[in-house]
């Protein structure tokens, strides 16, 4: 991808774009600097749930087309009920399971024996706010213990006047956070 090393430039007033840019950069740092393997299980879960919901509604549409109402009444009611239950489940899933997690990276055990250690990144940026909160959580593969550190910074620390992301500055911050967790780990 030729885009790979081009500086990220966004509309500095667009809160969504700010968060996306910082999240994407953090992902890149974790993947490249630390050789972590990204795990997509969380996202895949969400994708699967949404796909099922959409299939439900498509099935209802097809059934009603082939067997017009009122013959399709039972099937329709089941599909509609399923769809809205699924929508509820997805909301719960997003809120509790994902909860702002945008990256899960696995640190493979060098010997290849023990289960992987897990590094989770979560972030939040309120609408119209400039306070970007980044939280890194470490879950030991063997010990199953978790440790996390979080840092709130203003987005102004990482973007210049034109909206270009100052990758080096951000990289230093993210690495600093992660290394502080690793240091903790070694100390214990």
């Amino acid at each position: 991808m030729s885009q790979e090393n081009a500086p990220i430039k966004i509309d500095k007033w667009d809160g969504n774009a700010l968060k996306n840019a910082l999240d994407d950069a953090a992902k890149k740092i974790m993947n490249e600097s630390y050789g972590l393997v990204e795990s997509f299980k969380l996202i895949d879960g969400r994708l699967a749930l949404c796909s099922i919901a959409v299939s439900c509604s498509l099935f209802a549409l097809l059934w009603d087309f082939l067997y017009p109402f009122p013959a399709s009444k039972t099937v329709l009611i089941i599909c509609v009920a399923c769809y809205f239950i699924l929508t509820g489940v997805i909301s719960v899933y997003l809120l509790y399971f994902e909860g702002g997690v945008f990256y899960v990276g696995l640190e493979k055990d060098k010997a290849g024996i023990d289960p992987d250690d897990k590094w989770t990144l979560q972030s939040s940026l309120k609408k119209y706010d400039d306070q970007y909160c980044l939280k890194i959580t470490y879950t030991g593969g063997v010990s199953k213990q978790t440790r996390s550190v979080e840092r709130v910074c203003s987005v102004t620390e990482f973007f210049d006047e034109e909206g270009t992301l100052c990758y080096d500055l951000y990289e230093a911050t993210v690495k600093g956070l992660k290394d502080s967790l690793s240091a903790d780990k070694k100390a214990k």
Binding site: Q3, K9, L47, L58, A60, F102
Partner: protein, 175 residues
């Protein structure tokens, strides 16, 4: 500065990986599905003609119940479909004939029509049966159905709305 905004707007999208792109399409699918499910779930029809004036006008939205237990009586406003045609008709029940074995047949007429609906029924059909009836009108909201009429009369409008919605959702990346 318009040029700057264009580039930065799309750069958000270029950085998406396969999964995120798939999720954009799914989001769009979810919105369309929600609308679809509400449409099918609430079960309503739009009054397309003026044959029931002054009770219902063209463009009114009718909510239906399909209570199989509650027998249809003369004077009820029934929504039914003629075999071979998609479009449901909303007219008042004029006559109801019941047999001892439970077989029921109806004759309907639009309030604003001069003659009963026999001219609308399928060739050779003189009565409606229970299976033709979709439900009964139980409540209505005036004018809202006009959107559906416009969408039916001008199909391009429907595609334009869907297209705009699609563009908005697909190109707007949620964090």
């Amino acid at each position: 500065t318009m040029g700057l905004l264009d580039i930065s707007f799309l750069s958000d999208l270029k950085r998406m990986n396969k999964r995120q792109v798939f999720y954009q399409f799914l989001s769009f699918g979810m919105i369309v599905s929600s609308a679809l499910m509400i449409w099918k779930g609430l079960i309503f029809v739009v009054v397309l003609s003026g044959s029931m004036e002054p009770g219902f006008y063209r463009g009114d939205l009718l909510f239906l119940t399909n209570d199989l237990e509650d027998p249809i009586r003369a004077g009820d406003i029934a929504v039914f479909r003629i075999k071979g045609r998609d479009i449901p008709i909303v007219h008042r029940v004029l006559q109801v004939h019941e047999r001892d074995d439970g077989y029921v047949k109806f004759l309907t007429k639009g309030d604003n029509n001069a003659i009963d609906d026999r001219g609308l029924y399928a060739p050779g059909q003189l009565w409606l049966e229970k299976g033709d009836v979709i439900g009964r009108a139980k409540g209505f909201v005036p004018y809202i159905g006009m959107v559906t009429i416009v969408m039916n009369d001008y199909p391009k409008f429907k595609y334009a709305v869907l297209g705009l919605l699609g563009i908005f959702v697909l190109l707007n990346r949620e964090a």
